[in-house]
């Protein structure tokens, strides 16, 4: 119970930070605030841009920190840090999803969508070294969705749709579509467990 409350509190802080930075991203730019930090924490963006352009930007150094933190703490990113995940959790709490007992289940096949999207992104990043391939990653990125939702109306509808689906099915976006969530799961759960097993041996 306490853990859940602490988690909601931390999520609230990161949601506040996201919107505070979003609001501050105007002219003139405040020099000291890391306004673009959420994009720089994104490990998938770091991987994609590094492979497809064969150049690692120093701006993505914080994402390496996230990689090691995932190995240490497990998949904390989606449940503690991600502002979209936080907004989904808060919306479900405010709309009292648990009391209404809404809990649609999706077939396991649907979960493969994010696996497919993730590998498609990796494939496009490799292919883009050789030829021109459309860049699709941004459509599935939680920060881009959140930022664009408050800039462009079409994306606001997309954002509302995500919230609605996640109200019907718990964390629908995160568990079934989000490729960043899948990468975090791969590192924070699969890779972490493998390393644990190796240590035991």
């Amino acid at each position: 119970m306490y853990k859940k409350l602490i988690r909601l509190f931390v999520q609230g802080i990161f949601i506040f930070l996201f919107f505070y930075f979003f609001r501050k991203t105007t002219f003139p730019l405040p020099e000291k605030l890391p306004l673009n930090i959420f994009f720089r924490l994104d490990l998938l963006f770091a991987i994609f841009t590094t492979i497809s352009t064969l150049h690692f930007s120093y701006l993505f150094l914080p994402s390496i920190g996230i990689f090691f933190m995932l190995l240490l703490l497990g998949n904390f990113f989606c449940f503690w840090l991600c502002p979209l995940g936080g907004i989904i959790d808060y919306t479900n709490m405010i709309l009292m999803r648990k009391k209404l007992k809404i809990n649609f289940k999706v077939p396991n096949m649907i979960r493969l969508i994010r696996v497919f999207i993730f590998y498609l992104i990796i494939l496009t990043s490799i292919l883009s070294v050789f030829c021109l391939v459309p860049f699709i990653l941004w459509v599935f990125n939680p920060y881009v969705i959140l930022t664009k939702a408050f800039l462009i109306r079409k994306f606001l509808l997309f954002f509302i749709l995500i919230l609605f689906l996640s109200f019907l099915i718990p964390r629908f976006w995160c568990f079934n579509i989000c490729p960043l969530g899948y990468l975090n799961y791969l590192i924070g759960v699969k890779l972490r467990n493998k390393m644990k097993k190796l240590r035991k041996k």
Binding site: F39, H55, L123, V133
Partner: protein
């Protein structure tokens, strides 16, 4: 799904993307005017993560996302449409970009395009009117009067901000147009291309 089927499927997807890539290799002929500090186009379209931070920070609102009909590869990347809004050369887009797709540049290094006067539409050239709005609004003094008292652009001075195009009083298409010809784009120091 068996591993073999999985691999076959991905080989198919990869093959079709390769073909697509070959077919649409027209990106180098792009006519889009990019924000100041944008890196070379073929890298820019993959470095830019379409986050929209530059669009939000632009005080003039001159940066707009590229619509899909202008190119599937450039879709949602920032570009300038000078006739609608010209660039104020504040260079904040370079400061906010989280991926170095738009890099920090000094004011002296900015060159996003070059303006060109259409003498068939210009009020001074065509109708001998006393206009010179382009000369008045140019922040770098790249438009000047020639010996015949007609406006001319000095391409070496013009930075391509588009103030002249935005403020041109000719209705419809502007008499002075900015294109990305002569733009200076930074090259990324990257590992060798395959």
């Amino acid at each position: 799904m068996k591993r073999r089927d999985f691999l076959k499927f991905f080989a198919g997807v990869g093959g079709s993307f390769l073909l697509l890539g070959q077919r649409f290799k027209v990106i180098k002929n792009s006519t889009l005017i990019r924000p100041p500090g944008a890196i070379e186009e073929d890298v820019f379209i993959y470095k830019c993560i379409r986050c929209g931070e530059c669009l939000k920070v632009c005080p003039a609102g001159c940066l707009k996302p590229v619509p899909i009909n202008k190119g599937i590869f450039e879709f949602e990347t920032p570009h300038i449409v000078p006739r609608e809004r010209a660039c104020l050369l504040c260079l904040n887009c370079g400061k906010i970009c989280p991926t170095e797709a738009i890099q920090k540049v000094k004011f002296e290094e900015v060159k996003i395009g070059t303006a060109k006067i259409n003498t068939k539409r210009c009020l001074v050239w065509k109708e001998n009117k006393d206009c010179f709005v382009c000369m008045e609004v140019c922040p770098v003094g790249a438009v000047y009067k020639n010996e015949n008292e007609k406006p001319v652009v000095a391409p070496e001075l013009c930075v391509g901000c588009g103030q002249c195009e935005q403020h041109c009083p000719v209705s419809g298409e502007s008499a002075i147009k900015v294109s990305n010809i002569g733009e200076k784009r930074k090259k990324l120091r990257r590992w060798k291309y395959v």
